[in-house]
Amino acid sequence: MIALSRREALAAGAVVLGLVRVVRVRAGGAAAAIAIDNFAFTPASLTVPAGTKVTWTNHDDIPHTATSADPPQLFHSGPLDTDDSFSFTFDKPGTYTYFCALHPHMQGTVVVT
């Protein structure tokens, strides 16, 4: 086993964490953002604590929506043109899938803890 200095071990740990795609909001954070770019939601999966206000912003030059997929429909942004935003506050824990009503192959998830 290669001996690592404390600094090297911390750096290696950071690299490992960087590979994890799920974005976590620090506990106590009240807001989070999802970008819409190139017909995709980024991050595709977002984990937030209950009570977080999530804001979607469309950076594409084509309109998109953020529409909850599971019935009953919890939220629907309506058409978001370029630079338009829509916010929704997730109060209850759970996993919420959503999609773009114009381009249904675009999908995302918000996991509320």
């Binding site: 190139n38 017909f39 594409d60 997929a69 249904p104 999908q107």
Partner: protein, 308 residues
């Protein structure tokens, strides 16, 4: 009357009298069928298709979508043979706003043709398909309440307008739905297989490129109902470029947009508006003319760009 000179003279006389002649070839032997003038009118007619005008879009590469739509209509008005009707295959507006519908309706009205519309996904963003149906399908006999789909007959051809942009499911493609498919089955029942069918809908009914949503989840079910017919032409829009495919007796064809082009499948990170060099925009926008001649399948489809 077997003397070639006499037969030819008789044919020429009938042509001068306004009768039409249709030549068909069977077993390698050409046969001429003589038609009365009424039948000649039935035998040959044309119609046009425009698509994806996206009124309300004003970004690179097109800051003037009403202007390019007007140019498309002018191109249609200049056709040597006046079309019998106009089909608009959806995305009339960019954001389903009443003002955008107003502008499109006014410009398309200047064609002076009976126009038949089906919605695109950009047309059903507010209150689903209801405003679009009320404005653009008021003359049609609706297949289902608020359904946005209908059919009609003209010049012996059966036209079917389908709606595959409402009730879209997450992760899915275009969608016809069970009610519309049931109506389609009833609508086609009892029709002779020899009747030419023209189906028009926004999203392609065959899978052009699933990753970009360019297809219809239950399109195959509609095509199964159409396969028994000898001549089926499926006209779509949505992908803003010409693409065609023939499968047995079914000819698929997509039209250019009058607003902006989109990239060929998989050639860009996403299917958004494709920027073009200044001056080239009109070469990638256009209109489509379809010519129908009785007894001839498939229909002749001619795409003409706005320029070049």
């Amino acid at each position: 009357m077997n003397d070639p000179k006499t037969r030819r003279a008789a044919l020429e006389c009938m042509i001068w009298a306004g009768a039409g002649v249709v030549w068909t070839v069977a077993g390698g032997v050409p046969r001429a069928s003589l038609l009365g003038s009424a039948e000649a009118a039935e035998a040959s007619f044309s119609f046009v298709q425009i698509s994806d005008s996206h009124i309300g879009f004003a970004k690179d590469p097109n800051m003037d979508t009403p202007g390019t739509l007007a140019e498309a209509i002018n191109q249609i008005r200049a056709l040597p043979q006046k079309p019998a009707l106009l089909l608009q295959t959806g995305d009339v507006s960019h954001l389903s706003k009443p003002g955008q519908f107003d502008i499109a309706e006014k410009i398309i009205g200047t064609a002076g043709l009976d126009a038949h519309f089906v919605p695109g996904e950009h047309d059903v963003l507010v209150d689903e398909a209801r405003p679009f149906v009320a404005r653009f399908q008021a003359r049609e006999k609706q297949g289902g309440a608020d359904g946005g789909y209908y059919s009609f007959d003209q010049h012996g051809v059966h036209f079917i307008g389908l709606n595959n942009v409402t009730d879209l499911k997450a992760g899915g493609l275009g969608n016809l739905g069970a009610a519309q498919l049931a109506w389609l089955q009833k609508d086609l029942a009892g029709r002779p297989a020899s009747q030419p069918i023209v189906v028009f809908a926004h999203v392609p009914l065959w899978t052009v490129y699933a990753d970009w949503g360019w297809g219809t989840d239950d399109g195959a079910q509609a095509l199964a109902l159409l396969r028994r017919f000898g001549s089926v032409t499926v006209l779509n829009g949505h992908i803003h470029q010409v693409m065609q495919k023939i499968e047995g007796t079914v000819a698929f064809h997509t039209a250019r947009s009058t607003a902006f082009p989109q990239p060929a499948p998989g050639t860009a990170p996403s299917p958004g508006p494709m920027k073009v060099e200044p001056g080239r925009l009109r070469t990638v926008l256009g209109t489509t003319e379809v010519r129908v001649v009785a007894g001839r399948a498939p229909l002749a489809i001619i795409d003409t760009p706005l320029a070049g």
